[in-house]
């Protein structure tokens, strides 16, 4: 196998990254793929998903994975660290996985390691059709070779002994799923020197200042970010907190969301979603919320006190007004992402609040779904590389 070295400089440390191909080659391949993606959206992707994938495989986006991890590209020369891909890599994806599957596949292509992706055994998933599409459209080169020779998709039942084999042989284990599911994978015997990342059940929120809550753009962004997957998306806000707002501010935001929703999500929902929204409307009322159904039952949006429990229902969004302390104390224990629309999100006030909240990400609302080399607080992508300290 080829060994191509690319040096990166992070200021205090130079890293020589050893890849089985030149970085420029695989980025060129992704560029060709991206051009091919401009054609018709293949089944079963929806337009928004495909558009996000297209932006994700962009040259700058993929280069940023390296620069965020190792620093800026630098001329050849001595390095403090050698970084070479660990392999094999094993990834577990649950049945209902969405873009996470394709997204992690894209990032795994960059080290080019041998990879097995366990996919759902009985459900629609996106990684299988994405890999199939890539195998058809990637130009001959390192990306096509990786897809053809180094990627295996594995559809097995939960109790299949292949899970144990994967865990035993993998140098890196990455598991997405329910808390129970990822705990089960981590409990499988594995080498003590291997790396394991368990991404379990998480929740997200949006924190919006009362002034910015009145901006039409924020309202539309909230609908887009929530509407694509609703509560099923771990990075979608189940609750929007109008920071330092009044109950009237929360109600006004609810009403704007209800008004704008059909414009932004024009399609009628499936019958079972419409029905679930109606049920959630009744349950929310019992729980102390003031719920409203969007036209054609596209969604249920409710406003109410921060102490009221969020009702689990796929297209139900809850709006509350609270100060930062209340927002933090009533946030879910498994908070992953806070999407912000605040006047000064960089201020020390927010640094402290974010730390207290337990959130792993604090990003603009529009970037809540953006996947990257650090997830849930873990630098899992960096761990795809074995690092060798070199002192000369």
């Amino acid at each position: 196998m080829r060994e191509v070295i690319q040096v990166f400089d992070a200021g205090t440390r130079r890293t020589a990254v050893v890849l089985p191909f030149a970085l420029a080659e695989i980025l060129d391949d992704w560029g060709a793929v991206r051009r091919a993606m401009r054609g018709p959206v293949p089944e079963p992707f929806v337009r928004d998903e495909w558009a996000y994938l297209m932006s994700f495989v962009g040259d700058a986006q993929l280069r940023s994975v390296f620069t965020a991890t190792f620093g800026q590209p630098a001329p050849d020369g001595p390095a403090d660290v050698l970084a070479a891909p660990r392999e094999p890599v094993a990834v577990w994806l649950p049945n209902n996985v969405t873009l996470l599957g394709p997204l992690i596949a894209v990032l795994l292509s960059l080290p080019g390691a041998a990879t097995t992706i366990k996919i759902g055994s009985n459900a629609e998933d996106l990684v299988r059709p994405f890999i199939a599409w890539l195998r058809e459209h990637a130009p001959e080169g390192p990306l096509a070779s990786w897809l053809r020779e180094r990627v295996e998709l594995l559809a097995v039942e939960r109790d299949d002994p292949l899970h144990a084999t994967l865990a035993r042989e993998a140098a890196v284990r990455i598991a997405f799923g329910s808390d129970e599911g990822v705990d089960g994978i981590e409990a499988l015997p594995h080498p003590a020197t291997s790396q394991g990342f368990a991404f379990g059940d998480r929740r997200s929120e949006a924190w919006v200042s009362s002034a910015r809550a009145a901006e039409p753009g924020i309202c539309d962004t909230l609908v887009r970010v929530f509407g694509i997957y609703g509560q099923v998306g771990c990075t979608a806000p189940r609750r929007v907190v109008v920071i330092d707002g009044s109950p009237e501010d929360a109600r006004a935001l609810r009403d704007r969301l209800v008004c704008r929703w059909p414009e932004i999500v024009p399609a009628r929902p499936a019958m079972h979603i419409a029905s679930a929204n109606l049920a959630a409307c009744q349950e929310a009322a019992v729980a102390g919320w003031d719920p409203v159904l969007v036209d054609d039952h596209r969604a249920m949006v409710a406003c109410g006190p921060a102490s009221a429990p969020v009702i689990e229902s796929v297209q139900s969004l809850f709006i509350t007004a609270a100060n930062t302390a209340e927002a933090t104390s009533t946030a879910p224990a498994n908070l992953q992402t806070i999407g912000h629309a605040l006047e000064d999100p960089g201020s020390s006030e927010w640094t402290s609040a974010v730390l207290r909240s337990g959130a792993e990400r604090f990003v603009p609302v529009a970037r809540m779904h953006h996947f990257g080399p650090i997830w849930d607080g873990f630098a899992y992508w960096r761990a795809l590389f074995r690092e060798v300290e070199t002192v000369r």
Binding site: V97, L100, E124, S275, E283
Partner: protein, 350 residues
Amino acid sequence: MNPVLQRSALLDRPPFGPREDETLLAELLALTHRHLAGCPEYAAMWPDWSGAEALTELPFVHTTVFKHMRLRTEGEGIAHQREVRSSATSGQAPSAISLDAHSAERQAVSTRAVLEDFLDPHPRPLVVLDSASALRSRALGARTAAALALRPLSSDLRFVLGAPEDPESLDWDAVLATLGDGDELLVYGFTWMLWLGWAQADVPERLREVRVDFVHSGGWKKLETISVAREEFDSALLATVGAGSRVLDYYGMTEQIGMIFPLCPHGVRHVPTWGDVLVRDPWTLEPLPPGEVGMLQLLNVLALGAPYHSVLSEDVGQLVPGPCACGRGGRTFVLDGRVPKAELRGCANA
């Protein structure tokens, strides 16, 4: 006695006689006010409701709510007893309905009247494809509750499964012992259980001399997955027993206990006069005319202990226009199945 607790006037009418929708509306309005006063959760769901001039304007509870909440109406004369729980297929939480003596009495009257209209009213031994252990549970399962509703038509009752979820554990000796020297038998089971436990079994020869009325409910979902059609189901059952035997399929929900909607030989389901079925557009809730498919809202005057007198189900169907050729009067509908579910595509962690 509180007038609401008095027996419904409609329960004294023939189940499938002329409809008296004004009386029905009046009784349902009284029930609605009672539940609004005695069930705070129900009142929270309908804070602005002030009255109805038509059945379509009556408030309802979505069936899913019963899976997540224990609704109870407190008030004069109501003593809550056991719960009935749905069978909770498809991995969902079961619905739980609180039973009380007044409602149970009405429900028994309702079930008996409907079944007597479709089956011979004289008592005969009843065997139930369930395990007797189900009776000892604090919460009554939907299957057991349905079986017990047939008690008024039975002279003797026996639960004949060794294990509650295993139709192949059917104890044929117990069936024959219950039958004794008789030549008539009533058999109840969930549809899929009757298929696997009876229609697919080596049935004792003695039963070929017996006239059997099979009564089943619980739906076709499990049989559809193994491609068993209704005609095949009926003929397989009838092939095991004597001449004159019949198969009666009825639709009912745990959230509508006591209300059963039998399928007549002309393929439609009949609504008793003490209840009604509305069909609603799933996206607007507009009531739909006969022939248009929507979600079924089921109403009854039997439910005193909790607001299950008006339930929006996730079953899908359509009203059928005109009188039924079977001669029964009243409203009829066709049940088309459940609201179609699709896998929710979401982030891995949900």
